[in-house]
Symmetry: C2
């Protein structure tokens, strides 16, 4: 028996939906992995809530697959494995976006790899593409639809005219949304993923707390109707971009023009567009996280770890200078009393903050009216300052609704 | 000076458009590559038509970048480099699709890496995704728009109603097509790329000669009008798929339904969809080959080679059992004399070969008529046998036009 023929022992931390799918997949594909790598993978231990000892499983493994989720006690197990020199493959975006520096420090100390393709966008290989294929490129911006639940809900609202509540209910019935959907619909899940992507795209640390985000709960059928009328797609969009010497990372609903590569991504799919002057842009799309997809992403990482690939993602990272006030164009929908001078007063408040109007549509609705304004790009702080002034006007009949508008791939 | 700080010497074979773009890029990104890998890249020699000695350049290099193209004498240089243990990064799809086994054998003998991300789809990282991310997945089919020239021409024809000749002229004026466009518009370029993709997707050798292909020269504005009428996209589509125990690889014009991930790829872009039961499908898209894009793909490979990643693409491959007679649905356009019995006679010839009709439209055009028939999936040999019978009918006014129709991602 040569050393190439030794089995490769995999210790699993956790065995829920993803864990079971991975255990099944590794069984099914063991011969193919052996053909590719010379080592036959074998699950040597599994930690569940009720069974197994983490230290023992780690000690007996050549590599640790972490699919238990959460931060505590997961973090301790992963740190222990890395410090012991065991490569770790994880799908845990919360852990990565909250404790990244500590994890990489442990990986460096132990001389072990940390791989996490499955943490973002399921089987869509954005981690590998950013950290390897585009390692030598100067990336300016990464945009993504990185939460399948919200994209399913928005696709249903757009296709059927359903309200947010109706579409959420449907997503829950189909298993695309959890009973408590807050983490998905509030944007927190996407925010953690964007923090991880920013790390790879720009070589800087971004903590989850530094990501500004909002969710889709306040979006209405009227917003969708507006999108349809103007050929736009309304998406929950994550953005990580260079702004001057800093980095801005955020998650917001946004209107996309029809030609944007992310505009046509529908249902529970994920997609990421990577923009760089030398290459214009590359877009990757596929099904979002699901047991089999995530398991497949984990297996890709395991194969790379067995053959000993050293991902450049292990390169040094520095703390990011976070920019919170970035420029964007906005759609602004105002429910107002239908009386003379309304438009003039709104326009004056916008002008006071330097917000320039690109288009305006006023619709009469009996005694009331609706103003739909699209601005040119402006810094968010100025826009929101104008919004506060407008909110205080006595003819406003509801809180204003503002949604970002994304135009070209390379905007100014 | 530690060993990490030694410069990493790159010998370049060739220095045309791609070579110059690469030399510029490596200069611009040297510090970033050093940050990621610990080694500073440095071009140590360049072979041009008039200058330089290949053996000397190879001997003085840590890695060889081959951007001279062609098979002779390129093949000898690449074999020499690999046998001498020098990793080779190449963009040469002709070389790979004609001499693959020999190249890998040399790489194995020399213990050297052979990397070729830039050979297919420019900066779209399909090679890496197939050979690494999806290394553990069972891939059933790869479909791609892998030639930007033809996609530009077809996009223009669809958008403007231009004829093939007009759109080709425009592509030439804009620099998207060569003065002699045969290799692109005839499908040969795409065929070489699909042979390379089949190698990675299925672990088998496919020689360029084993790829069946046709080009876009015979497509007409009428075909485009039909596509528009039924919401279809007409694309030059490469397909590599498992059929029973064999592999079929081909390049053909095809109508795609609007929901297909490749239907919305326009202009000089490339895109590849990888289908696997476990993951449904992943689609990668971006600009096709161009100097800067190809250079960026080469740099990604160089970075991986410096850090010592071992691509599983180096795994053993076997000779493919090539299947040439695969099933497909067809669109069939017949210019006929407008007289009784025409449809019955056509239908009879189709029926004789077991070709089942899905839809038929007959348009009267004065004395003549046009029959547009879409079939259910049928083996190509049967379809073309029926076509031969139909061609012999005395009311046929022109050669029949047949184009494949692609329906679902997972067809039967």
């Amino acid at each position: 028996m040569t050393s190439e023929n030794r089995p490769f022992h995999i210790g699993m931390l956790g065995c829920g939906t993803v864990g079971s799918a991975f255990a099944e997949l590794i069984d099914e594909r063991a011969s193919e992995v052996e053909r590719l790598t010379g080592r036959r993978p074998l699950v040597s231990g599994v930690l569940t809530r009720s069974r197994g000892d983490a230290a023992e499983i780690i000690a007996g493994a050549d590599l640790v697959v972490e699919v238990m989720g959460g931060v505590d006690p997961t973090r301790d197990h992963v740190l222990a494995a890395l410090r012991a020199g065991k490569p770790v493959v994880t799908a845990n975006k919360q852990l990565l976006s909250r404790h990244g520096p500590e994890l990489w420090e442990a990986a460096r100390a132990g001389g072990a790899q940390l791989r996490f393709e499955a943490a973002v966008a399921g089987v869509v290989p954005v981690i590998r593409v950013l950290s390897e294929s585009l390692a030598g490129a100067h990336v300016d911006r990464v945009r993504g639809i990185v939460n399948g639940t919200t994209n399913f809900i928005l696709t249903q609202m757009a296709a059927t005219g359903a309200s947010y509540e109706e579409a959420l209910k449907e997503a829950q019935d189909l298993g695309y949304a959890e009973a408590d959907p807050t983490e998905d619909v509030g944007g927190g899940d996407a925010a953690a993923k964007m923090a991880v992507l920013a790390r790879l795209a720009f070589g800087v640390w971004v903590h989850l707390d530094e990501v500004t985000y909002e969710g889709i709960e306040h979006l209405t059928a009227d917003d969708m109707a507006y999108a349809r009328q103007f050929g736009l797609a309304l998406k929950l969009l994550g953005t990580a971009e260079r702004v001057g010497d800093g980095i801005a990372v955020g998650v917001h609903p946004a209107f996309l023009y029809a030609g944007h590569p992310l505009a046509s991504i529908s249902g529970p799919f994920n997609a990421v567009t990577i923009e760089s002057p030398a290459i214009t842009e590359v877009t990757l799309s596929g099904p979002g996280a699901g047991g089999p997809q995530t398991a497949s992403a984990i297996l890709g990482d395991v194969v790379s770890a067995i053959v000993g690939d050293r991902s450049p993602a292990g390169g040094d990272a520095v703390a990011a200078t976070i920019v919170r006030d970035v420029a964007s164009a906005f759609y602004l929908c105002l429910e107002v009393a239908d009386r003379p001078g309304v438009l003039a007063q709104v326009a004056e408040r916008l002008g006071l903050q330097g917000v320039s109007v690109r288009s305006v549509v006023q619709e009469g609705l009996g005694d009331t009216a609706r103003l739909v304004i699209v601005t040119h790009p402006v810094s968010e702080s100025k826009f929101y300052a104008a919004l506060e002034l407008i909110s205080a006007l006595d003819f406003m009949r509801a809180a204003p609704r503002a949604i970002r508008v994304i135009d070209e791939i390379f905007e100014t």
